[in-house]
Symmetry: C2
Subunit: 306 residues, 2 copies
């Protein structure tokens, strides 16, 4: 064991320090006690070493940011505001104290960017590193996937595909700024949480977080709303970042649409509605499923069952 | 892969079916949406294959019950009532559909015994099975570990040590009813949640869940309350189950006190207060630490950092 377990708990209590507004009891008892509103949104996401992250590629700080971002994005994607997190972590015992502190710092950094506190957790020994986070948030008006209306437009908060691009080139030793940007988006995406708030404020009829793939989340909205989503590649290809992403894809002999449509984990927000602030990519019409984005290869993912 | 991932999600949605009071949005969107009160208790616990459970010994149903019980007990141990759970699970892909359904049934069974619903989750592929659960509950009067008063008595809800006994004899092929009981308590303890409610209703001054070991949780109460806990082995040895537990310990050449004081995972509730309904094991006095229960061997655990 490379660290002292009591030392880890003390470090986590310091890093997650919860003498904060709304937190009555933070780390140190059987459960945390927090102020909540009449209606809460709750979610959980798990990240596994080798599946979702790799310590060769990602710093502990980025790993902590990424799993935290996935949870925060899920709450925003319902139209809510995340408030508190709990984290359950398995470690092998071979991690350094510094690595563990960096992981916690990354989680706290991402959480605090949304005014969210980590109020408790659990630590266990296991054969590999697993980080599971659960988030709870306040929610007034709920925006599900089932409200898309015929005649709505479809919007994204930013162009998906950067995380998939980063994964594709992470071991390629590319030296450009754009390559570094893609890799950093894979290691820990920059999530525009405020875009979800804007979608909600603009009375989006449906909203979700693209955690798996744009086509998958679009299909979920279509199915839940009993409508057809017509996504236009022409519109997507006018996104200001499209040319840059295409350039990396071309240099790797990869079809950029695979990254945009089937890549996940950017936590781009996908919304339907009228005159929303966001990038318009298509329209909602009567029918079923998603059209305009036929894929050569289906995305291969394990789905969030929230 | 022994199962179809979409099939798993469908099975979980069926087993966890949340068209229940208080659950506005259950499984199927980015996050669940539930009714909450002004103050909530939140906790998380993680169980890892090989560390906390073993599929050779435990059925999937029991594994599901056990991790769920740990979370429910933590909420009760604050004086709260658990309401909702989310579960994040990693699977290797080698599990049968039946095993996964049994796991979910075990979780749902334990949760429903407390009127609690599983409202969402996440599923991922990993090198071993890991089950992480987070619980949220309603809480009015908070009972921490820091309220024990000089002059209080110390109570337990039942005799700890059965889970430790079960672990010690699980591979011994003992055929007695008592041996089977101990093993079943190790695989999934029978938690008397109502005892925690009785402690809370009796105005317990401190309350916690013995997840690690009786001496560890007693030390935590002593430290948080700035008092000394005097636990009397004489009182503990008068517990109606003491003789039976001693008999198994003797038959294995094990000191029964090791199981009672240092065994964990029974989720016995430990409380201080006056005239509580429970089994009295000692008194609170001025001083520090825990006396009366010196151990030959310290418990070796990784601590919950809630």
């Amino acid at each position: 064991m490379n660290f002292d377990e009591a030392g880890v708990i003390a470090a986590l209590a310091r890093i997650f320090g919860t003498s904060q507004r709304g937190v009555e009891i933070g780390i140190g008892d059987d459960a945390a006690v927090v102020k909540t509103s009449a209606r809460s949104a709750i979610t959980t996401d798990i990240a596994v070493e080798g599946t979702h992250f790799n310590t060769q590629w990602s710093s502990a700080f980025d790993i902590g940011r990424k799993i935290t971002a996935a949870n925060l994005a899920d709450i925003y994607a319902m139209g809510g505001s995340p408030k508190y997190l709990v984290a359950a972590v398995t470690l092998t015992g071979q991690e350094s104290m510094e690595w563990i502190e960096d992981l916690a710092e990354g989680m706290a950094h991402e959480a605090s960017s949304c005014g969210v506190y980590i109020v408790g957790g659990d630590l266990a020994k296991g054969p590999c590193k697993v980080i599971s986070v659960a988030a709870i948030g306040q929610i007034d008006t709920v925006i599900t996937r089932s409200g898309a209306q015929v005649g709505d437009s479809i919007y994204i908060s930013s162009l998906p595909g950067w995380s998939a691009a980063g994964l594709a080139i992470i071991d390629k030793d590319l030296e450009s700024d754009i390559a570094h940007y893609a890799i950093s988006e894979f290691c820990a995406p920059t999530v525009d949480y405020s875009a979800a708030v804007q979608f909600a404020n603009g009375k989006a009829t449906s909203l979700c977080d693209v955690s798996d793939a744009l086509v998958i989340q679009a299909e979920q909205i279509a199915a839940a709303s009993k409508v057809q989503l017509s996504i236009e590649k022409d519109l997507l290809s006018k996104h200001p970042e499209f040319a840059t992403l295409s350039e990396i894809a071309d240099s790797q002999g990869i079809d950029v649409w695979q990254w945009i449509l089937a890549g996940g984990e950017d936590h781009v927000f996908l919304a339907t509605g009228k005159d929303l602030t966001g990038f318009r990519i298509g329209s909602v019409q009567s029918g079923t499923g998603v059209i305009g984005v036929e894929m050569k290869k289906a995305p291969d993912i394990w789905r969030h069952f929230n």
